[in-house]
Symmetry: C2
Subunit: 258 residues, 2 copies
């Protein structure tokens, strides 16, 4: 059965995350509905590179789709985009080797997190508006401590039993824009809510509630991260899923394709 690789952009505001749920609207559920609309009663299988939580967005989620059809991928993509709600867009669809696996083959993932430093009329479900002033130097110092290979078990639990809590973070960087601060994270894999806990921790440093030293302590499991330090899902975007041989992009995607 042919396998296709799909790259998907979505506004996760109104969805209960990526993963299919029988009773709630999910991104994967909407994609499955669209596949049924386009292909009729064909059997198919859809598998995402990673699960995003409720309210989290994606600029470049990847999924593979197994489906026995003669429809050229370009035409299929157009039909899928017509069938999908406006908040989900298939950006590319191509034939993939039968051995390609969206999740198991991924070698790295990147996320961007948008922190708004002022009220933004367009940001309700798309940023985290932090009202007090932030000490960006402190945040940048703490961010650089997180880079590298660490046991991140204080920052989240594994999605599946047996998965390692040791994560290699190639990049944790802050970018100061006009009205916002963007946190760009690139790593081998991520634990559940790990990016949101990292951002929540960095913001707490920016507010003066934690020192970079204490952040280092979390990496050595001297204490657990306070549960309230989880940044809201609204500001988080799965930016890109990397597969072997793909060059790493240096510049994060600062802006949405509005």
């Amino acid at each position: 059965m042919p396998r296709y690789k799909l790259t998907i952009e979505y506004d996760g505001s109104r969805y209960h995350g990526w993963q299919y749920q029988r009773e709630s609207p999910t991104i994967m559920g909407a994609l499955m509905d669209a596949v049924r609309q386009v292909y009729g009663p064909l059997r198919f299988e859809l598998y995402g590179a990673g699960r995003t939580d409720a309210g989290v967005h994606a600029m470049g989620q990847v999924a593979h789709l197994d489906l026995d059809s003669q429809l050229p991928p370009r035409t299929a993509m157009q039909h899928l985009n017509q069938a999908l709600p406006r908040s989900i867009a298939v950006l590319s669809m191509e034939m993939a080797p039968r051995s390609f696996h969206a999740r198991h083959d991924a070698v790295a993932r990147s996320y961007v997190y948008h922190i708004a430093r002022r009220k933004t009329a367009f940001g309700k479900n798309h940023v985290w508006w932090v009202k007090p002033a932030l000490n960006l130097q402190g945040m940048a110092d703490a961010a650089s401590l997180l880079e590298g290979r660490h046991d991140f078990r204080s920052f989240g639990r594994t999605e599946r039993e047996g998965m390692s809590t040791v994560v290699e973070l190639q990049r944790v960087r802050l970018y100061e824009l006009d009205a916002s601060v963007v946190v760009h994270v690139l790593g081998s894999h991520f634990l559940w809510r790990m990016v949101r806990r990292m951002v929540g921790t960095l913001v707490e440093v920016g507010l003066g509630g934690l020192s970079p030293k204490q952040v280092e302590g979390f990496l050595h499991h001297e204490s657990d991260i306070p549960t309230q330090l989880v940044a809201p899902p609204s500001g988080l975007y799965l930016e890109h899923v990397y597969y072997p041989g793909e060059p790493i992009t240096d510049e994060p995607a600062f802006t949405l394709n509005i």
Copy 2:
């Protein structure tokens, strides 16, 4: 009574335009509610630089507010932003001379219009998604014909009796971005729906349904613009209102502060 100058950003998606209406939610109505919440039963007057239609957005609408209060403008702005819905943000509030008039003193206005060339998950109420391929060179040619001083009566009617249909357009330019085309327009004043008719006309040129020559004909009133050539409000943003002495910005605001 002191006068304040306010700069306001709004997502117009769910509003029936700027101008106050007793029965429908409007930007001005929401601002008036917020002023009442912050200042209590004080008498005040609010006057916008220009009316935007239902669904049209603003990055820099300007209004003046007359109000007898000792509250420092910075504090007042914070309170207003707390009282306003997330889709409306006061970006600045400052004392203005008693003689300042948001509408009468404005010497130019600029708009940006976002045309998406592919489906964008974040754009439902914020772009116009044009599916067929566009001939951008033809659009740019037609755009440059619109620049200058012309009688734009084929492009719209005046908002008030006696207002001139002769408009000086300093700039009508196209910018090609990754997934979109941005039309940037700067002019002395604009007739009702003029920008949307201009963009609708340019897109029709891009689709091959009109020649730049025919666009020139509209400027000489050889024929009226077909009524269906009105671009949807979703892609339109009032970018800036210029007052005497203010330098004209060359680069349009390509991105929203999400």
